[in-house]
Symmetry: C2
Subunit: 319 residues, 2 copies
């Protein structure tokens, strides 16, 4: 399949071409970057919504319900579910299967899981490119859902305009720490399963954390209650999501975020390309293999060797 076909297929809303392009992104096929380069000017239209939170806080069911609500309002939807994955079990596990059940017959909903394996550029690189592909394809709203832990997940969610953080009542120290890492990226808090006891306390807790947050800001993240089973609170959540998007546009923050995002992406792409070049140069170089053996034996140290190899690499690239 040629790059031109791929671009043409995506722009003519052919789902098979979109799926193909995202697979190429995952496989780090060089044609994917060429296609994305051509598709770039058709992007920037979708409202990207990140959904994160600790395990068990109901992210998937929330996205499903929000999708149904957006569909009622005639919006088209893309969903990227970022899953911890594994060569052992064969890849991304969730997302697709669960959500496909409710939206599988709806052509206006495109669902895709992305795993964490083998991306030279990292998962955030691949996710960002997949979101871009769906944006060029023409979906109005794109959800990016991820379990909220660790640096890579925060990077993944960084591409969103509006970040929803889901929370659960109670739980252990690990969960507290996970939440601490994602509290500050929230634009909207959702306490899901609002029929459980301890909800009022949970809302008060989040508000107390927001009160001690010293950063100046106009948009204070609201704390909403939802029930993914009954659907309670979902229309109100959607209205709040739209209100946040309006706020971003009117305040100029959307533009600021766009600039910030472009800066990060450019840096990210440059790192990716440099690393690729470096890997190509070093492949099958006997001195390189010998250096690794000496490092393992503690005869030389990796810091000094890295310094030397970088100097050689830069010299060699200039010729």
């Amino acid at each position: 399949m040629s790059v031109a076909d791929l671009v043409e297929g995506v722009l003519s809303h052919n789902r098979r071409y979109l799926a193909r392009l995202i697979s190429m992104i995952e496989d780090e096929d060089g044609r994917a970057l060429e296609a994305l380069s051509l598709l770039y000017k058709h992007t920037g239209k979708a409202h990207i919504i990140g959904v994160t939170g600790p395990p068990g806080s109901g992210k998937s069911s929330l996205v499903t319900k929000l999708t149904a609500e957006f569909r009622k309002r005639s919006k088209t939807i893309g969903i990227i579910c970022v899953d911890p994955s594994s060569p052992f079990t064969g890849g991304a596990l969730l997302g697709d299967r669960i959500r496909m059940q409710e939206h599988s017959l709806d052509d206006e909903v495109y669902v895709r899981s992305m795993g964490t394996r083998g991306h030279l550029g990292g998962l955030s690189r691949a996710t960002s490119d997949a979101v871009r592909a769906i944006d060029a394809f023409g979906k109005d709203v794109i959800f990016v859902e991820t379990v909220g832990t660790g640096q890579s997940e925060v990077e993944v969610i960084d591409i969103a305009h509006t970040v929803i953080v889901t929370d659960v009542p109670g739980s252990g120290d690990d969960i507290q720490a996970i939440k601490a890492g994602i509290m500050e990226i929230a634009d909207i808090f959702v306490v899901n399963k609002s029929d459980l006891p301890g909800i009022e306390k949970k809302v008060a807790e989040i508000n107390a954390m927001l009160d001690i947050d010293s950063r100046e800001r106009v948009w204070r993240p609201p704390v909403l209650l939802t029930n993914s089973r009954s659907g309670e609170g979902i229309p109100e959540l959607l209205d709040t999501i739209l209100a946040h998007y309006e706020y971003l546009k009117e305040s100029g923050d959307l533009q600021k975020k766009g600039l910030q995002r472009s800066r990060e992406e450019l840096q990210d792409l440059m790192k990716y390309k440099l690393t690729q070049e470096l890997s190509l140069k070093l492949r099958d170089k006997p001195e390189y293999e010998e250096a690794i053996r000496q490092i393992a034996k503690r005869e030389i140290d990796p810091y000094t060797v890295a310094e030397q190899l970088i100097a050689e690499f830069l010299f060699s690239m200039s010729r």
Copy 2:
């Protein structure tokens, strides 16, 4: 503080110097790499044990109990607790406080938390360097504990010789997916809290997963039961950890792991240094800022710009 003082302090087992060096590693202070370069030949002696598993599976209490057991056998201990952290709450949350209670008066136990913020080289780079510092300091055993989710956490655990994966009975889809991502890196499975119901089923589940694993291997990860409160199963777990280390030595796998580790580390250091050079070059360059603005406006695409800037960068570095 000079690099020579730092190196001297660490080699003479002064804990204050060790703490200082790890802080410099976290701050990406250039002296840290110089010190590590000089300390490198004093490393490679510690047995590095990774402990990971889903939230709530009792990693911290397991490490505490194992530490007590190792101390009975006269081993000195380092513990690095990798925590999701946050500028909002002020950094690493757990680990230290919890474990300090039990081992805070024991000079032979060194505990340190590491957060996830602001490392140009990523958390795995910083953690790997901190482990190295503790290794040079002379601890016999170093634990690296992390919540098992996401790519970055798997990278963190990659520096361990022996990986313990803790598991809990039951729980939702998120937890299943998290576990899927870490199953294959386990050398030993621990089902903690062995007084809870459903334990037998859990052990059978893990064994069933191991049965369908088609990779050829001599060491089949054993599944052990422990109770962190009563201490039940802890001596047996420690014996298994030591047996695994013996196995690594005798089979030649320890050497293979060392080579693999040296290769990854060298690549990682080179990436880190290249990225540093690139950041320095681009800082305050007006054309660069203008390119970012044009990307945000969709007038040019980031893929093409990255390509051009890399070419310029490599050219400029060669002069």
